[in-house]
């Protein structure tokens, strides 16, 4: 058998470069590049897997929808790199049920365009499953279409309380990520734990959409439950992607807070921290940044104060007790890209691993290649070893993963903060149980701190 070397990261970068050549060429080039990655990887590394059986030689086609530009471009790129890494690794181990994985990558942009790309993946590309989506707004548009088309969709992210839950409480084909508010719940608890008596004048600066609004409200309610009597001195709601935050910084500073809570998480977070630092906003002020880990590489020590409650969500790249899987991934990722992976890598890995586990479990049970319904029923019963730790899908098709946060430190060899203390909670400690309302759960739940 002919063997050859194929570096999928290089191919991806070439596809990205070709993006700039124009719309049609962009799509064709990307698809052409992505198509065959799985099969080639398998051919290169596991010749024994190929057999004359059609089922084994036909790739499992996995459609990916993720942003590659704009405020979420960094995040989407990290997820894509991780799913490519996962596909390559799984293909070396026999793919999914003996069939190689083939990725068909499309860009997540506006809801309208992404819905069109989702339909194209399902109807034209005839993918077996679609994975990805980071924006709640986009996922709210795509998820009902997945139900309508009867197409399996496993989301990486994009599921706030105001996300798909209200629109489709009993989804059949849509698997959601953990509730996006989990990280806010955790950081709120850690704020109470680490800053007792130091939270008296609170200011919030949060992105002006459901995620930011929900996180801020969750933070307020948890403080209330914890008996922290604090004054809310300022609320700022910049729209996502606002890059001139000087007036917001000035407004916060004028309010003289001693604690700032911000669930900003896109490219605007480093800008806020830089502008805030330059204006002296953080002097004598404690902070909670539940979603800072998404921008880990951009949050430079030169403007990051120490001792921030800093969230890495479901993947902390420098976890001291990391599994061999995480260590292998992080080493490879940092070696190739010279930066640290963020939690979207874990979400992307988990989506693919959960699908693989579901397919193989159903295949084992039936003794043949399983039907879609059999895969859907099998996925929630599987325990997955994801990059960030053990994970699973609940019966209501919502993910349960492990969350990592702690106090930050600049005392490390990187140019960005790491965690001085690492707290970890599982999603069942931070996420409402199936069928329960988030706000009702917040009032009555037994919180872990």
């Amino acid at each position: 058998m002919q063997t050859f070397s194929l570096h999928i990261y290089d191919m991806s970068d070439l596809g990205r470069a070709l993006d700039s050549q124009g719309g049609n060429l962009m799509n064709i080039s990307r698809r052409t590049l992505m198509r065959g990655i799985g099969a080639a990887g398998l051919a290169a590394s596991a010749p024994g897997i190929f057999s004359p059986a059609i089922a084994q030689s036909t790739p499992v086609r996995v459609g990916i929808l993720a942003p590659r530009s704009g405020a979420m471009g960094t995040i989407g790129e990290c997820g894509i790199r991780a799913v490519q890494w996962a596909a390559e690794r799984m293909n070396k181990d026999g793919g999914i049920g003996g069939r190689p994985i083939e990725l068909v990558i499309e860009e997540e942009t506006s809801p309208k365009d992404t819905i069109e790309r989702f339909r194209r993946l399902v109807l034209q590309e005839k993918v077996d499953v679609v994975q990805g989506l980071i924006s709640t707004g986009v996922s709210m548009g795509v998820a009902p279409v997945a139900e309508e088309e009867g197409a399996l969709l496993i989301m990486w992210d994009g599921t706030t309380q105001d996300g798909v839950k209200e629109a489709m409480p009993n989804a059949r084909y849509v698997f959601r990520s953990t509730d996006n508010e989990c990280e806010a719940v955790m950081s709120s608890l850690l704020a109470v734990k680490y800053f007792p008596g130091k939270i008296t004048r609170i200011a919030g600066i949060n992105p002006d959409y459901s995620y930011g609004r929900n996180n801020w409200e969750a933070f307020r309610q948890i403080l209330k439950r914890a008996g922290v009597e604090a004054e809310m001195v300022a609320e700022q709601w910049p729209k996502v992607g606002t890059m001139d935050l000087t007036s917001h910084v000035a407004a916060l500073k004028a309010a003289k807070p001693d604690f700032i809570f911000s669930s900003m998480l896109f490219a605007d977070l480093p800008v806020f921290m830089k502008q805030g630092s330059a204006a002296g906003l953080f002097e004598g002020v404690n902070l909670a940044l539940p979603a800072a880990g998404w921008q880990i590489n951009q949050l430079k020590k030169s403007f990051m104060p120490e001792n921030i409650v800093f969230g890495h969500n479901t993947l902390y790249f420098a976890l001291p007790t990391a599994s061999p899987l995480q260590k292998a991934f992080v080493d490879d990722y940092m070696g190739r890209f010279k930066e640290a992976p963020n939690w979207e890598a874990d979400r992307a890995y988990f989506a693919l691993a959960a699908y693989k586990a579901g397919v193989e479990a159903a295949q084992k049970a039936t003794g043949r290649w399983p039907k879609l319904d059999e895969v859907i029923d099998a996925i929630p019963k599987q325990e997955i070893q994801s990059l960030g730790g053990p994970a699973r899908f609940r019966v209501d098709k919502i993910a349960e993963q492990t969350f990592y946060q702690g106090l930050s430190t600049n005392d490390n060899s990187f140019d960005f903060p790491t965690l001085k203390t690492v707290d970890s909670f599982t999603a069942d400690q931070l996420q409402k149980p199936p069928g329960m309302d988030f706000w009702e759960w917040l009032k009555t739940s037994k919180l872990p701190v």
């Binding site: 990205r16 470069a17 993006d19 700039s20 050549q21 124009g22 590659r68 530009s69 704009g70 405020a71 471009g73 960094t74 790129e77 002006d208 609320e235 700022q236 709601w237 910049p238 729209k239 992607g241 890059m243 001139d244 000087t246 007036s247 917001h248 910084v249 000035a250 407004a251 500073k253 004028a254 490219a267 605007d268 480093p270 800008v271 830089k274 502008q275 630092s277 330059a278 204006a279 002296g280 951009q298 430079k300 030169s302 403007f303």
Partner: protein, 287 residues
């Protein structure tokens, strides 16, 4: 808070001034003006990175940024050559072409600098902070405000006091007449468009240390620049100053008083201007 608004206005003025200058003289509504702003930002990041690798001290960053903005503004020369094809055509052709250029530039930026927003950290922090009216503010913001004022004054003096400025104003008033008097209007247009571009690219170069360069910044700013133009009056340089200050300060006040109404507040003023003074505050004046 007001200084935050003035900082925003200072950058906005530069882009709007470029837009005004080009319209005032060439009667082109340049929708691509935001692209030059973005181009300036990205090119400035590369220039400062090179300067850093050459060992230049932090205090040298501001001159590097200004020079980078001015240098990349020369891209206006070939763009103006392209625009010559539509000078005498219907305005819709000009709008389509300049909007097309905006999209083309977005892909050009993506090709050279990638899709991920880029930041420049050292330049913003290198100048430290200053005390203004009892409030600590980043010195860099003050330097940008000062640079913008200096550019506005220089541009005003150039247009009003120099022979070339008079030629430009004469061409703006009556192209045929000035050509009849021996003015090479093609050369004037090329110079004016390039200066207009430079105002935008310098604006982008100056804003990026405090902010970030992203593919979306062109579109975001062009919308605000047109708000400035509507308020100040199309083609008026004084209008650009007044409009930029109004937009910058209203935005700052809204962020302080009612953050949710930040965008709304700007466009309420635009609507008011359109109803009460459709030509803008200085609509009659031409650069």
């Amino acid at each position: 808070m007001m200084l935050g608004g003035v900082f925003h206005a200072a950058v906005l003025f530069l882009v709007a001034a470029g837009l005004q200058l080009v319209f005032g003289v060439q009667k082109i509504v340049n929708l691509a003006c935001g692209s030059f702003y973005a181009l300036g930002a990205y090119f400035a990041i590369t220039s400062v990175s090179i300067a850093t690798s050459l060992g230049l001290p932090g205090v040298a960053f501001l001159p590097v940024l200004l020079l980078a903005g001015l240098a990349i503004g020369l891209v206006g020369l070939p763009v103006e050559r392209l625009l010559r094809t539509v000078y005498r055509r219907d305005e819709s052709h000009q709008l389509l072409l300049t909007f097309g250029l905006l999209l083309v530039f977005q892909d050009v930026l993506r090709f050279f600098w990638g899709a991920t927003p880029r930041t420049l950290d050292n330049a913003y922090l290198a100048y430290g902070t200053a005390e203004v009216l009892g409030v600590r503010v980043p010195t860099y913001n003050l330097l940008v405000i000062a640079a913008s004022i200096a550019i506005a004054v220089t541009l005003g003096l150039f247009l009003q006091r120099t022979r070339t400025g008079r030629i430009i104003r004469a061409t703006a008033e009556n192209r045929e007449m000035s050509e009849g008097l021996g003015v090479n209007s093609n050369r004037v247009f090329a110079a004016v468009f390039t200066v207009g571009c430079m105002l935008g690219t310098v604006g982008g170069a100056l804003v990026v240390p405090a902010s970030a360069a992203s593919l979306e910044m062109a579109v975001e700013l062009v919308v605000e620049a047109f708000a400035v133009v509507v308020i100040g009056g199309l083609g008026s340089m004084r209008g650009a100053i007044a409009g930029a200050l109004i937009v910058g300060l209203i935005r700052a006040v809204a962020i302080m008083v009612l953050p949710e109404a930040e965008i709304l507040s700007i466009y309420l003023v635009v609507i008011l201007a359109l109803i009460l003074r459709p030509a803008g505050l200085f609509g009659k004046a031409v650069a």
